[in-house]
């Protein structure tokens, strides 16, 4: 199994580097879809099917289409500079890599201090604190089955226990759609 995971990580990393360096905009978009699909499989392996569904549908599906639409609408299909048309990759922007490393290294360092994957002692999946109180995990797992009566705790938290957050989220999405309509100067109410 570990080889499958390592292979997937290598695939995702290679796809990310290709996207960053490719001069071919459409090719980079398609590579982005492959990147998202690889990431979705990684989420499945990490036992996060909800996130995997969104990653596959948004990242590989809708985002690629929106990027393609943007490429077509902005007419940047022929954006390759002709003087170096032979070269298929951009030169690496080393100062940018240095800046991003300053961000990425602390994050990578933090992951080393996390409990191992699937550890039953991880703070995120313990039902009680050492002093006996219920953690949020323990409380919601308990409350989902008792109060809501169905088994998907994520949906229960979203709708039953934190409905205000979800409603606000939906209103934000509505506002975003309205803003897109305003920016694009379109009328949907006849």
């Amino acid at each position: 199994m570990i080889w499958l995971e390592l292979g997937l990580v290598a695939f995702v990393l290679a796809a990310a580097v290709l996207i960053a360096l490719s001069r071919d905009v459409v090719g980079a978009t398609v590579t982005f879809a492959a990147f998202s699909l690889g990431l979705a499989v990684v989420w499945v392996l990490l036992a996060a099917p909800d996130v995997a569904l969104v990653e596959a549908a948004v990242g590989a599906g809708v985002m690629s289409v929106l990027l393609l639409v943007a490429v077509i609408e902005t007419d940047c299909l022929q954006s390759d500079d002709d003087e170096e048309g032979e070269r298929r990759f951009r030169p690496v922007n080393w100062p940018l890599v240095a800046v991003l490393s300053v961000l990425a290294l602390p994050f990578g360092w933090t992951t080393l201090s996390l409990p191992p994957f699937g550890s039953p002692d991880a703070p995120a999946v313990r039902e009680t604190y050492p002093d006996g109180g219920l953690t949020p995990y323990g409380y919601y797992i308990e409350a989902t089955l008792v109060d809501a009566g169905f088994s998907n705790a994520v949906v229960a938290v979203l709708v039953v226990f934190r409905g205000l957050d979800t409603f606000g989220e939906l209103v934000v999405a509505f506002a975003a759609a309205a803003s897109v309509l305003v920016v694009l100067d379109r009328t949907v109410i006849p």
Binding site: P49, D50, L53, E73, L158, A177
Partner: protein, 153 residues
């Protein structure tokens, strides 16, 4: 950019391909069914309204990709988008206010006299409709560029 250039979207290279069209024709019913399934049965299985809505939206985007976004924009009345958006948010808001009038807090769905799961399913469908409409709308509006161009159906 003129409108004539934009409305020639039906002849874009990747739009007319029989492979894309056949794939879209074959896949769309399954994708749609899966999206509805995710929204309705997300209470007991992995999934939920946001996932289901995005999958349904992706099905519409797939149809648009295969058959052109411009014909699709003509099929779908622009008012339908606004109606679905408002209907979805209104349903969620009405369910939330209903909890208040039944004696609980606003958005408290536990006070309804029916099984909570049914209320949650109703809210999930409302959320899924909003998400699906936004995803579909983004692709359709963005592919049309800026402005109505006077073509009001």
């Amino acid at each position: 950019m003129s409108d004539s250039a934009r409305s020639s979207g039906g002849e874009r290279p990747f739009v007319g391909s029989p492979v894309t069209r056949t794939a879209a024709r074959t896949l769309t019913p399954f994708v749609l069914a899966y999206g509805v399934y995710l929204s309705l049965f997300g209470t007991g299985l992995p999934g939920g309204a946001f996932q289901g809505g995005i999958v349904v939206g992706a099905a519409f985007v797939l149809v648009g990709l295969a058959f052109g976004f411009d014909p699709m924009r003509r099929w779908i009345h622009p008012g339908a988008f606004a109606a679905c958006l408002l209907l979805g948010i209104g349903t969620f808001g009405a369910v939330g206010m209903g909890g208040f009038f039944l004696g609980g807090a606003v958005l408290d769905v536990l006070v309804y006299p029916v099984d909570v799961e049914w209320i949650v399913k109703l809210v999930e469908v409302a959320i899924a409709v909003v998400i699906a409409v936004i995803v579909t709308g983004l692709a359709i509006w963005l592919s049309a560029g800026v402005g109505d161009g006077g073509e009001r159906e």
